[in-house]
Amino acid sequence: MVVLSLLGATFFQEMAHAAAETVPFGWPWWVMPIALFALTSVLGVVAVLAGIGGSVLFVPIVSGFAPFIHIDFVRGAGLFIAMAGALSAGPGLARQNLVNLRLAIPVSLVASIGSIVGALIGLALPVSAIQIALGAVILLMAAMMTLFHSTEQGSGPPPGKLVEALGIFETYTDRESGREETWFPRRMALGLVLFLGVGVMAGMFGLGAGWANVPVLNLVMGVPLKFAVGTSFFTLAITSPSAALIYFQRGALLPLVVVPSTLGVMLGAKGGAWLLVRANTRVIRRVVIVVLLLAGGRALLRGFGI
């Protein structure tokens, strides 16, 4: 998979080099925000259909194929995209009783701390190291999308003392049986450790962490899938600002990049939600996996100076 992604990414080398040479010298300045808006509108649609966040596509694609925008600014924009998307979607999910705030608060605290650490590390490391690490993470993400499937109900060992002390549990109506069921998160301590790592990655690469939050909540902590997705959105809304503030403090937030990108993804997400019941999401998901493979390969090539 790594070899295929590297081979595929080399086909885009000439395009990226040509872009770097002509932009900004040949194009009017307003082409960049319009192009970003158009690109992120498409990414927003695709992200919803594929079940991943807009920033997960934005950061590797823009940093890989638009080298005239340094990855520092791309990562800052990526965090804002993740935050804005989560702020928009979170309240609706909460009203549908798909968010457990008592679970979101401790995991978000840990992930926030991780994201700050990640942002500081990410802004201190050489760009080549960031590109290599980003490439590896993106390829891992593609592998996870290919290999792992979330479980609807969630399962695991009985809740531990930490869960009992925090009083986290949720009652919901099972769609199939019509009965009221109660779930508890499992392996809370392990989950918190994993969320710390997820936060570090989110801050370092400017990615929303939904792609990692949901598997940790669902597969490790045994949270039913719908609650994992809903709670993940709330966690994103809390974690992303923490890292975004670090990028702000460093001067890596540019309105000309952040605003059109954020608005584009949010608009695209609305379109994606409309298309969700009409599109073949399995095909979309496969296309996204290919795009992630290319983007991850491109990041690796850039990291190695190729």
């Binding site: 702020l87 009203r95 705030l101 309105p255």
Partner: protein, 144 residues
């Protein structure tokens, strides 16, 4: 928090979650309007920008440190005295979205104290402290 209901009717989110969600929803709507307004002010040139947008695409291929050094761009809260510039105003409007989640967290405090839920009160205070530390500028590293 939702506890197991004795009433078999469909479980509903608790008041604290709903209140948090309402603040996030209202704040996000207002915040996005202000973000768009700030951006339009910037693009229209109603307020002169600190950095001419025509020059910007040529300045951002290098890292953030190079950008800040070469162009005298204020970092962090150094933008506050410069809100008369369109790009700085637009940047400040983006921070309103961050303020939404901070405000939502503050809104949890009275409810938690009423319930005597001191563990979560401490967790919320810690989260607010994390936001303060991140936004305060004390952690900004030296760069590439």
């Amino acid at each position: 928090m939702n506890r197991a209901n004795e009433n078999p009717s469909k479980p509903k989110p608790d008041d604290m979650t709903l209140g948090f969600a309402r603040i996030v929803e209202l704040g996000t709507r207002i915040g996005l309007v202000l973000v768009v307004a700030g951006f339009l002010v910037y693009l229209s040139g109603l307020l002169n920008p600190l950095i001419d947008p025509e020059r910007l695409p040529g300045l951002i291929a290098g890292g953030v440190d190079e950008f800040v050094r070469a162009n005298g761009v204020p970092t962090g809260w150094g933008l506050l005295p410069m809100l008369g510039y369109g790009d700085m105003l637009s940047l400040a409007s983006l921070l309103l979205l961050v303020a939404v989640i901070v405000a939502a967290y503050f809104s949890l405090i009275p409810s938690l104290l009423r319930r005597r839920d001191y563990i979560y009160f401490v967790l919320v205070i810690l989260q607010l402290a994390v936001f303060l530390v991140a936004g305060g500028g004390w952690l900004v590293s030296s760069g590439h």
